[in-house]
């Protein structure tokens, strides 16, 4: 028995936080209009001391709340896009490999191996340094290290589904290989991949933060990682500068995991007994 997705308390909690985040990200320009990087006041106003600037200001006097809200936009966008790119690329390569078999499969899987044995973060680091840290480069860099998981999962799933009775039945019925591949098997190979997608989203949010932390974020947009990196130099004197985006980051990642875990359970029929 799998409980429906919405009946899990942890899923509800995670979902609520995530939904709020997505809403904030989506409506950021309405909630905090104007350029979040604009200088809004005196630098280093502590939080909760100025009604106009509830979370205070950073080193350059930028509104921390506006930065936080727009940072949600970046984090959510980067996390989702990176996961989307990774899942799409992984599904395509994995499914192709699983179906083609033979030399094509061997070649594709060698490429997957190649990406898997190189530490993804090293690769992302090199890629962003070289290509210049724009948001899309960061998304691509993260996806570069994340697509192998979906590829392997998709391939494994395709391989096992290929041998199942309903595929044999479809064959006996006279269905063409292409139809079996794309109409019958693909949709079923998706759930386990979607289930790891949440982990990829969470990991992507963390990776983006780590890259920004190392100074490899896009300077034209606000990111929480960059905020932490900025605040890090004042960790002792103005800890709130890195604690506030840190909390936002942890909340985002936790809620993504919670939703992902519940999603995994209902998608794959796994349930905690």
């Amino acid at each position: 028995m799998t409980r429906p997705f919405l009946r899990r308390p942890e899923a509800l909690l995670g979902g609520a936080i995530l939904l709020a985040l997505i809403l904030i990200a989506g409506f950021a320009p309405l909630i905090a209009p104007g350029d979040p990087l604009a200088i809004a006041g005196r630098p280093l106003i502590p939080p909760f001391t100025d009604a106009g600037l509830p979370l205070g200001t950073d080193r350059l006097g930028r509104d921390l709340l506006a930065e936080l809200i727009h940072g949600a936009r970046t984090s959510v966008a980067v996390g989702l896009s990176a996961a989307l790119v990774a899942v799409f690329a992984g599904m395509t390569v994995g499914t192709a490999a699983g179906f083609a078999g033979g030399a094509i499969e061997a070649a594709l899987m060698r490429i997957v191996d190649a990406f898997q044995i190189v530490p993804g973060f090293l690769l992302a680091l090199a890629f962003v340094s070289v290509a210049g840290p724009s948001l899309w480069v960061v998304v691509l860099a993260i996806a570069l290290g994340a697509w192998t998981g979906p590829a392997r999962l998709a391939r494994a799933r395709v391989l096992s589904l290929r041998e199942s009775d309903f595929v044999a039945a479809a064959k006996v019925m006279g269905m063409s290989p292409a139809e079996i591949a794309f109409r019958q098997i693909m949709p079923l190979a998706l759930p386990p991949v979607l289930a790891v997608a949440s982990v990829i989203v969470a990991a992507a949010v963390l990776t983006e933060a780590a890259l920004s932390f190392l100074g490899l974020g896009d300077p034209n947009s606000v990111t929480w990682g960059a905020m932490i990196a900025e605040g890090r130099n004042q960790l002792r004197s103005a800890a709130y500068l890195s604690i506030i985006p840190g909390i936002a980051l942890v909340l985002t990642v936790i809620s993504t995991y919670l939703v992902g875990e519940a999603l995994t359970d209902s998608l794959t029929g796994r349930d905690k007994r």
Binding site: D113, A114, Q116, I117, F121, V130
Partner: protein, 329 residues
Amino acid sequence: MARLGRVVLARLAGSVPVLLIVLVGVFLLLDSAGGDAVDAYLLSMGGGDAQMAAELRTRYGLDGSALSRLLFTLGQYARGDLGWSIALNRPIGPVIAERLPNTLWLMGSATALSFLLGSALGVLAGRRPGSLLDRVLSGGSLFLYSIPSFWLGLVLAVVFAVQLRWLPVSGIETIASGKAGLARAADIARHLVLPVAALGMIYLALFLRIMRSGMAEAWGQDFTLAARARGLPDWRITLNHAARNALLPLVTMLGLQSAAMLGGSVVIESVFAIPGFGRLAQEAVAGRDAPLLLAVILTSALMVVIANLLVDLAYGWLDPRVGSGAGHD
């Protein structure tokens, strides 16, 4: 043992095409970058004239085509030579030999800690899924899993090194201390405590969760029910039956995560100023030092290959259904 040796050799040989793909890919990536090693060098000098730049490019062979430089580097590897680092102005082999142990210590200790503690706590949590202990451990691990390691590292350093002064802030050992033997080992261990904690926590959480879900799965299987039917004591079913089986996916994950852990150590090395592979890679990229970056990536990839091989051997040893480890794929 001879058989084991053959298995190891065969695996390494099998990874050669993969490593080649990696090398060519990374080379092309760095080659497409704006700026080369001489640009980086000129920056470090605070400027220089155009003729000087041209002379330097000739000196370091940067005026040749990308293909010829790639072939030159690969030719060096074939001769067992890692080449010359332009950024560091030293042969690469010794550089790797100096930095590798630091990263290995960091990664190895973090892996050992997270694996041992993570699996042990995972057994505790998975013993009674849904119990209070399980909820506390699962929730706690989720929290740990969500904390960026660099942030954790910063906080740990401030609390334990700066405020309490229990442990050193950074570095891998006391500089030029002249210590040797056990005293040096103890010194290195003291330096490793904080970075290992910062790096290991996230994996501890990961391993805990995998062990826990492996346990939960094992409880649903017939053989644990059968073990109960045979009247075995609870601890024995937990350890010998459920945990033993739950260990298998954990070991698999260990192999899959080895590359990620190596990547994770990059950030931690930066936070704790540990001269390891991550910093070397950053220096290589910043200095546009293709031979150095290639060597770092090659060595990391080899480490991951070896780690996976070890994991496969361990898997073969744990699971009698798998041959000596060679057949597992």
